[in-house]
Each structure stands twice: as C-alpha cells, then as structure tokens.
C-alpha cells in the first residue's frame, strides 16, 4: 500500500466541516448526583482533516464522539455540520444526516452481528437509505471489501471466521458504505495487536487521502494519535486542556497535563528510559470534579488561584490553545 508522505500541506479551508461550541454532557448517578462527563468543549475540524482526541479514562473523549453523532443526546452546546445545526434536528431529520456521519468502534468482536454474513452486514448499511439494490448492491459490497483490503471471497463468511484486524476492516467498510463525509473512530486500533494495528492505521490514512474523509480519531494512546492525526486535542476530566497541531503538542506540550501525559507514555527504547514518575495520584471522580481547574489536584505547578476559576481555553498564538493560568501569550510560562 502506498501512502502520500506529504501531510499538513493542505491549509484548513475557510469553513470547517465540524464546529462544536460549548458542548456539555451530564449523566445522572443514583441519588440525583450529576456526572460531569463533558464540560464546555469546543472543537473545530476542517474538511479532510483528522483531529485526535486523547485522554485517559474518564476524560470524556468517547462521550464527545458519541454526542457528535447524537448516539447519546447532548445536555448543551451547538454543533454545526457543514453549516447545519445538527443538535437542533428532529429525530427524523437526524436519520438522513446520519448517512453523512459514521462511527468505527473499538471492539471489532462485539460490533458485528455474529449471525449475519459479511455481505449481509454491509448490505444492511447500504439498505438504510436504499443506497443500492440487486446486482448494484452486490457490486458495491465487493467494491467496499476491496477498498479495505479484503476480497469478494470474504463476502459469504461470518464474523467469527475473521481475525481482529480483518473484522476492524469490515467495520470500516460498513462505515464507508453510505459514503459519509465525517467519521468518528473510537479507539479503532486499541483492541488490535501491534503488527495488525499498523496495517489498520495505514489503511485509514490511505482512505482519508483517497476519499477525502474528515475524521475525529479518539485514542488513549498518544503515539497512535500523534502518528495518525493532524491536530491533537488533549482532554482531562471532561474538559479540553490543550489543542494544537500534532507536531507542536507532541514536541512542545504547553499544558502541565499534556506534558505529564507525554512523559508517561513508554517509548520502545531502553536508552530513553524515564527517570521519574511524571504524575502522582489518581484521576478525581467526575461526580465531584475539583473546583477551578480540574487538573489542579495533580498538577505540579498549581497555585491557590487555580482553585478559584476555571481557566478558559486561550489562544496563545500560532494556532495553539491552552487552558492554564500558568501559560501566557506565546506559550510563556507564568
């Protein structure tokens, strides 16, 4: 498989495909307590771009992905998709829009119906909008399988006959069946072995280039995100801590949490072995998040002022945004 080597050369077009403002999602725990899963998240994804959402468990990254597709309903905020306010659509209107937005799930074992052949699984997706019928439907199924590196022979088999990597390819083919503009990929390679993970990452990059897909790529694995995405959004306990180009965030993270996350990621090179633990303590409960900056309880640079107000995600120049009182204009440490 050949893949374009030049990346980041295409400038973000004037109107981004996805614009999310002030996204909020609360769940309700027993006793009327509120789980603050997502708080005030802004997100912009340009056409043909891949934005990576990275964070640890409880950061709200999966909830953001599902809320954008309205697989779960948002508590608040707006989302413009190609100029339309998707959160304001009725359930019926939403069904039409879903064709344009699809999701790839983490677990290729539980996301495919074990009783259907691969042909039936893909046909089901094609049928949703009367996309193709009869002979055309079969041709399209084969075309989709070939697009993801499988063949026509595979169409009559069942999911259990495939390995994890092949199943993830089937999940991708199903998502592509309705020719979406936007795909949420929720930990698409996390359940795969490393040798298979590379195959799927290469396939996703190839598809993005050939089909001009726009993607939100969710992962806990920073090296996967840094490799696959143009931009990185770092989340912690429901909020965005930092946002910037993949290269900037990876090489020169500004937020203390991004710095810790990058320092904590193990690198396959013993000569670069870490000398100290970057971050102590545990992630607090989203039922009772800390006041002010949610990261302050674990932050090595926290000040008393950090408990007072929630630091806004601030433009510090050169396309970088940071939510930290200790980071000033130009990324200068305060």
């Amino acid at each position: 498989m050949t893949i374009a080597v030049a990346r980041d050369v295409d400038q973000a077009p004037a109107t981004p495909l996805i614009e999310v403002r002030g996204l909020v999602k609360h769940f309700y725990a027993p006793g009327g307590r509120i789980v603050h899963a997502v708080e005030d998240v802004d997100l912009t994804i340009g056409r043909g771009r891949i934005v990576g959402l990275v964070g640890e468990s409880g950061s709200g990254k999966t909830t953001v992905g599902r809320t954008l597709l309205r697989l779960i309903e948002p508590t608040g905020g707006r989302m413009s998709f190609d100029g339309t306010d998707v959160f304001a659509l009725s359930a019926r209107e939403m069904r039409q829009w879903r064709r344009r937005m699809q999701i790839i799930f983490q677990d290729p074992f539980s996301s495919l119906n074990p009783r259907l052949t691969i042909r039936a699984i893909i046909a089901e997706a094609l049928d949703t909008r009367g996309y193709a019928k009869g002979r055309a439907r079969l041709d399209r199924t084969v075309e989709l399988l070939e697009l993801v590196g499988l063949s026509a022979d595979h169409a009559s088999r069942y999911p259990h006959e495939f390995s994890g990597g092949q199943r993830q390819r089937i999940g991708i083919a199903r998502a592509l069946a309705v020719e979406p503009d936007f795909i949420v990929a929720d930990e698409p390679v996390s359940a795969l072995d490393v040798s298979i993970q590379a195959q799927v990452l290469n396939l996703m990059e190839d598809l993005r280039r050939r089909l001009g897909l726009t993607m939100l790529f969710i992962s806990h694995d920073l090296s996967v995100i840094a490799y696959a995405c143009d931009e990185i959004v770092v989340m912690y306990l429901g909020r965005v801590m930092e946002r910037g180009s993949s290269r900037d965030v990876r090489i020169a993270p500004l937020h203390p949490y991004s710095q810790a996350l990058i320092a904590a990621a193990p690198v396959p090179d013993p000569s670069r072995r870490r000398v100290h633990v970057p971050l102590g303590g545990d992630i607090p409960s989203p039922i009772a998040p800390p006041s002010g900056c949610v990261f302050r309880t674990r932050c090595p640079k926290a000040l008393p002022a950090c408990a007072e107000t929630v630091p806004p995600l601030t433009d510090v120049g050169q396309g970088r945004f940071v939510a930290c009182l200790r980071v000033g204009a130009g990324g200068v440490s305060l």
Binding site: D193, A198, P266, P268, P278
Partner: protein
C-alpha cells in the same frame, strides 16, 4: 519437532547453572488432543537470572501467558504439560522440576518462592473481603503469627507499595479503591511472603498511562530493593523498554529471540522482532521535521492459528526473508552473541 529442541525429562539431571533462578527448557503446554490439539506453548526455552527482570513479549496467541501459568502449576485440563522441564532453585538451593510437582508440592512454592499478579486486580481480589484481610490471609497461610503482628505486617506491606493512609486503606474493600490502588494492593499481597520470583502478567495493561508509569516505577524499585527476580509478561514494547533487563520474544508458542534489553532494541536479530519494532508507531522516527510521515511498516497477514501451525518456522508466511528451507522444518535457537539467541536461519540475509 526436532528432538534437540525438547530434551526428554528423564534424560538429563536437574541442574541449574549458578546465578540462574529458573530455566524453562523445551516446555510444551498443549490443550486438547488429536487433530485439534492447540499447541499454545511448543518448545519454549529461556533462563531467568537471579535478581533480574526478564520481560516476555508477544502478541495474542504467542503463548506468553500460558508459559507463566505453566510455571505456577496453574494449567488445568484439557490443558497439560506435554513435554520439557521448568527447573527452579528454591531458597535452600534445591533444584526441582516444577513441571513434575503435585498440587500439594506447589503449596510451598506459590507465595514464598514464586508469586504472581494479573492484569485485572478486580477479578483476582475477593470483593467480599477487605484488602487488609486478604493480605493477612496470605501471610497466615504460611506462618504462625499473632493478630497484632499480622495487622502491623499488612500495614507495613501497604506502605511498601506506597498506598497513602495505609492504616485506614487496609479496611477498604476492593471496589472502594481505584484501579491503580488495587494493583498496588495485589502487589502487596504477592510480596507478603517475600517471594524470590514475581511473575507479573500484563500488570499495567488495564491502567491509564500516568498510573502505569507509577506502577512500573514501583515495581522497578521493589525489584531492586528486594533483589527479587521478575518475569514480566506484556504485549507492549514500550513497557518492556521501561522495565526489563532481558527480553524474551515469543511468536506462535515459541521463543524466537532472547537478548539483553539494549541489544534487543538496538540490534534485533530475528525478522519478527525487527518487524514488531518497525510497526510500532514512534513519532520521533516516523514523522519528519516538516510534518511528513512515513507509512508504518506493517507486518502482512496475521498470526497463525495454534491448532494449525505451519510445518516450518511459524513466522515464515509473513517473513520478508523466508526461504524454502524455512517452510520445511522449524529452525533451532542459535547463539548470535553471548547472551543473545535467535531462532532463524536467514538472519544473515537482512
């Protein structure tokens, strides 16, 4: 299988070179019988030096977990040890073949000699007992001790694994602890009888990366302080680089390479090890200064089924260097350099 790869148990005396705590020698652990025999471990050989951390790395189906369960005597029917030896030196210096021990014998091995921790502490801890009771139970099983002393020992152990407010956390139930704290409690329990060898099977895989860093640091410190040996099972090469002195790479039930960590990452010999390293995303290597990136060197195909292994080298169908001879009979482990072995006849071709 070639006879040389798996010497029969009776033909050799149970001897271990000085400085070696454990030697797995031609181990075969099979499940089922006849045509459907799953050869999960099929001729695994490696040594674990005293006071060192050896990481066993492999993808799913490589046999790494079954190897560790075989060492602990935890293989239940339809699984069985079908061949090979597991030579172990106990505290008294006595060398025994763990593959031939009875369950009753194992009671003196598990705990004081070899302890094990697993990936998901929630499923290995009893949800109905406090963490302190469970650690205490482990100690009381192996020695006579008063209640007061037992409590002191438990709190001491919890402090050793850096659980804050150890006195009160001893009375917590597992569900009251976070994933990281539960794994610390599991480690405390494993260390209760000061084992000579700690086997850790994917101990940080279920944890977030910042918590993983804490647990790895703790395990590294405990290993060094106690002079313990550690067998660390993982699929994550980054974690291997963080923790291991030596690395054993497994593929489809066999060891394909063993080397000191610096050698394995710096000068890998086996084509599978090389391919595994090349396919792991490393942004420093894969992304150039101008932001352009190279496609990942994915390994084509997939891991063969252990019920239907190819007759030759199991990696041959995916190997860029494979020759006809590779497909005919499985290669032997050969010495590349002192302390560095690999199972490949085409290493020179790279």
């Amino acid at each position: 299988m070639t006879p040389a790869a798996a010497p029969s148990a009776s033909s050799q005396p149970d001897v271990l070179p000085e400085g070696i705590l454990l030697r797995v020698d031609g181990l075969k652990t099979h499940f089922g019988t006849g045509n459907r025999t799953a050869k999960a471990v099929d001729g695994v050989t490696f040594s674990l030096p005293r006071g060192r951390t050896v990481a066993v790395v492999g993808e799913s189906g490589s046999g790494k977990s079954v190897t560790s369960l075989s060492i602990m005597g935890l293989i239940a029917p339809p699984g069985r040890i079908a061949g090979g030896r597991i030579l172990h030196r106990d505290r008294e210096g006595r060398v025994r073949d763990l593959a031939r021990l009875t369950n009753a014998d194992f009671r003196h091995i598990r705990g004081p000699e070899i302890a094990m921790i697993f990936q998901e502490p929630m499923t290995s801890l009893n949800p109905l007992m406090t963490v302190g009771e469970q650690i205490g139970e482990m100690i009381a099983l192996h020695e006579r001790i008063s209640r007061g002393d037992l409590r002191r020992r438990v709190v001491e152990l919890l402090k050793k694994v850096e659980i804050p407010a150890a006195e009160s956390r001893a009375d917590d139930y597992p569900h009251q602890m976070s994933g990281g704290m539960r794994q610390r409690a599991m480690i405390a329990m494993a260390l209760a009888c000061t084992p000579q060898l700690l086997i850790a099977d994917e101990p940080t895989t279920a944890l977030d990366v910042t918590i993983q860093a804490q647990i790895l640091e703790l395990m590294r410190r405990l290993q060094a302080d106690m002079g313990m040996s550690m067998l660390f099972i993982t699929h994550n090469l980054g974690v291997v680089a963080e923790i291991a002195h030596e690395v054993v790479v497994m593929y489809a039930g066999r060891v394909v390479e063993q080397a000191p960590a610096e050698t394995l990452f710096g000068r890998p010999s086996h084509p599978y090890t090389r391919a595994l390293l090349a396919s792991t995303p490393d942004p420093d290597r894969d992304i150039a200064a101008d932001g352009s990136r190279r496609p990942l060197a994915a390994i084509p195909g997939f891991v063969p089924s252990i019920t239907n292994l190819p007759p030759g080298c199991a990696f041959a169908p995916r190997c860029p260097l494979a020759a006809q001879a590779c497909r005919e009979s499985p290669p032997e482990l050969t010495t590349v350099a002192p302390g560095h072995v690999a199972r490949c006849i085409r290493m020179e071709a790279a």
